[in-house]
């Protein structure tokens, strides 16, 4: 199949990746960064929850508050990574707006930084999204007309918190009616609500994550935030043909036909083992059926859907490249 030329997110510069816990959103964010970097582009992958998930994913030492190259992509692309710490982001911000690096340190000593980043409502999120926005809009050192990164991927908070996290202005507008925090929040929200941003939701084909995806997409839309693709992660590959799938679901697999086939392959098994394999097959069929039901629910969202297969082994670097290739093949990025 020909890949569609105008992939849906061609103009997007900030890819926000969210998803319910346990769906593999960090893995998807990492794979997306590699996919975007393919063909010689420069991409920044950021995390905002201080978990060092990127370091685990790319098998490198814990990331400092500094942009580091973590991977190469096919065709000369480069993936950089940054673990954004709200405290450091605040100090950055103080320096940027007030030229107050030393004062920042004093604030830290008095516990103000702690206060501002963990307690002041909305402040933490303003700082985190603010830093991401800065990376999206930063110019290259050598050529001021060029942007330093072709795209930025954010491994964002989970679906349940994403709208509030991105919709910082709403809260800050209520709280900080004046002051530079307000101004900062406004400029961040302008980027987040523009066509340059897409919020992708990662899910697996199970009831709760799919429900959260549907709810999350509705919340994002209601807040005027641009929903990108639904990324179905760890999808089972159906292993049975239509007839066998139907028979297995109904508990009517032809056991003698199966036994004959096993015999032809010189695969020696006891009857009890054949029965065990029949049970496993019935459960596989049940799972495949459940996944197709959930898939139908997702389709009602009317969003582009990308499906990534369940890899037999834990996702290592090789697995990430495979998932990245899958994203390109399915036209999520071009």
């Amino acid at each position: 199949m020909e890949r569609p030329k105008a992939h849906p997110f061609r103009d997007v510069r900030l890819h926000v990746v969210t998803g319910k816990g346990g769906t593999g959103k960090s893995t998807v964010a990492g794979a997306l960064a590699i996919a975007l970097a393919a063909g010689g582009r420069r991409v920044l992958l950021t995390e905002v929850e201080g978990r060092q998930g990127i370091a685990q994913l790319f098998d490198c030492p814990p990331l400092p508050y500094e942009e580091r190259k973590v991977a190469s992509a096919p065709g000369g692309g480069e993936v950089y990574a940054l673990s954004i710490d709200p405290e450091d982001a605040l100090l950055d911000y103080l320096e940027l707006f007030y030229g107050m690096k030393r004062a920042g340190r004093a604030l830290k000593r008095f516990g103000v930084v702690d206060f501002a980043t963990t307690i002041a409502p909305g402040m933490r999120d303003v700082l985190l999204t603010g830093k991401v926005k800065e990376a999206v809009t930063r110019n290259a050192k050598r050529d001021k007309k060029k942007l330093i990164y072709d795209a930025v991927v954010m491994d964002a908070p989970p679906t349940g918190r994403i709208t509030r996290f991105l919709n910082v202005t709403a809260e800050v507008r209520e709280l900080a009616r004046t002051g530079p925090v307000r101004g900062q929040a406004e400029s961040v929200i302008a980027l987040l609500k523009s066509k340059q941003t897409a919020v992708h939701i990662v899910t697996i084909l199970e009831e709760m994550p799919v429900q959260e995806t549907v709810d999350g997409a509705a919340e994002l839309r209601a807040a005027g935030l641009p929903v990108g693709a639904v990324v179905v992660n760890m999808a089972r590959t159906p292993l049975l043909n239509a007839a066998a799938q139907k028979a297995a679901l109904a508990g009517k697999l032809d056991v003698s036909l199966l036994a004959a086939g096993l015999k032809r392959a010189s695969y020696k098994v006891k009857d009890s083992q054949v029965a065990a394999m029949v049970e496993e097959t019935a459960e596989h069929a049940e799972r495949v059926a459940l996944e197709s039901r959930e898939r139908r629910d997702l389709a009602t969202l009317g969003l582009p859907v990308v499906e990534l297969p369940l890899l037999a082994d834990a996702v290592d670097l090789g697995g990430l490249y495979r998932l990245a290739e899958e994203m390109r093949t399915q036209g999520m990025v071009g």
Partner: protein
């Protein structure tokens, strides 16, 4: 290879029959809520009077437990077998309401109104990242104090890190009760001259910067909030400390829930370490969604080779696909076993119990009952076979 046989078994029925508080914790998406509900149901059906506090149950599970009204009070769960004399109540946490109730309970009506109307309070009570954790712990304390239940089972909020909920109550209390806050909003008043001396000139600078950063209006809201809260100061810290003590007391049992996935097990590992460091009573690990083969003695490689042979001749598509299903299943079970063994090697003393992966979600009492039974009766011998 280390033998899983040496893993001590989590004797869940002993815990259910003796504990006064059970806290289910673990990273998001591992099945904490389901595990908490299954444990509570089993304890009730074994004859105890139980209340379960859930945070964010799946819709159908909530319905099956009668959790349709969000009124922040426990309600009896219908369909529980009460033959042994037990009883089960369930409730869903309403974070904001719990906070409002504390405010009302600890101040005059006039003060309470002032606090409840304050924009800073409204934001704090509904969005501060530690509020949910704090309120879960607060509600736990209330349910315990109430005295009508022998056992309180709590599910913990889906925090980014499993550790947050141990710290969040204290950090919120520290803030609300904090001298820093008093200093910021009323430097002349708070603590008098002694503070000013200690902080010297630097203080004025930082107060100015702080005002600049968050805006004067915000500071005014905070100031009003703090003034209204004056009577409650100290109370917050005291409550947080009480809850913390309650958690560390004998009679509390922490159950760490995980799935056999690298990230979830890593969190579980941290959590076990953290509980040990804080001297919190850990009952054990529940490993949820474990894949098992029903014929684990038939290796994946041979099944795959046979499948390929059949596919080459295209003679027996059914046998070939059944072999592939089996191979996939064995490979998945093996991978999960390896991950679980990594945890076991790091924490050989932590008792474990397992729940087999199901094709669908648990969404009724029957399903919860089955989960409870497997936790109690399912033997670790199964895992030797798997």
């Amino acid at each position: 290879m280390s033998s899983p046989k040496s893993v001590p078994r989590l004797e869940i029925d002993t815990v259910l029959d003796t504990a006064r508080i059970i806290v289910c914790c673990g990273s998001g998406g591992v099945g904490k809520t389901t595990t908490a509900a299954a444990l509570a149901l089993r304890a009730a059906e074994r004859g105890r009077s139980v209340v379960v506090l859930t945070i964010d149950p799946a819709r159908r599970l909530a319905q099956s437990m009668g959790l349709t009204e969000l009124d922040n009070t426990p309600r009896a769960v219908k369909g529980v077998d009460e033959a042994e004399g037990g009883h089960l109540d369930a409730m869903m946490l309403d974070m904001k309401r719990t906070f409002d109730e504390i405010v009302v309970a600890h101040s005059t009506p006039e003060r309470a109104d002032k606090i409840l109307e304050n924009p800073f309070y409204q934001s704090l009570s509904s969005s501060f990242s530690g509020t949910q954790e704090y309120m879960a712990m607060e509600k736990l304390g209330q349910l315990k104090d109430d005295g009508q239940w022998e056992l309180v089972v709590v599910d913990t909020p889906p925090t980014r890190s499993a550790l947050d909920f141990l710290d969040a109550p204290q950090s919120l209390a520290r803030f609300l009760d904090g001298r820093l806050l008093r200093l910021l909003v009323a430097p002349a008043k708070a603590g008098g001259r002694a503070y000013m001396k200690v902080l010297s000139a630097g203080f004025l600078t930082f107060a100015r910067i702080f005002t600049k950063i968050i805006g004067a209006q915000t500071l005014q809201d905070v100031s009003q909030f703090v003034a209204a809260l004056e009577t409650m100061f100290g109370g917050f810290r005291q409550r947080a400390e009480e809850t913390y003590r309650l958690l560390a007391a004998p009679g509390t049992a922490f159950v760490v829930v995980s799935a056999p996935e690298p990230a979830a097990l890593r969190e579980a590992s941290y959590f076990v370490d953290r509980l040990a460091a804080d001297k919190m009573p850990l009952a054990g690990l529940v490993l949820n969604r474990v894949t098992r083969s029903k014929a684990p003695e038939l290796p994946a490689e041979r099944a795959l080779a046979a499948a390929e042979e059949l596919e080459g001749s295209d003679s027996d598509p059914l046998a070939a696909s059944v072999l592939r299903v089996h191979a996939e299943r064995v490979a998945m079970a093996t991978r999960q076993r390896k991950l679980a063994e990594r945890f076991t090697r790091a924490h050989p003393e932590v008792p474990q119990a397992e729940i087999t992966a199901l094709a669908g979600d648990v969404h009724d009492l029957k399903g919860l009952r089955a989960v409870g039974a497997e936790l109690a009766e399912g033997s670790l011998a199964l895992r030797d076979a798997g």
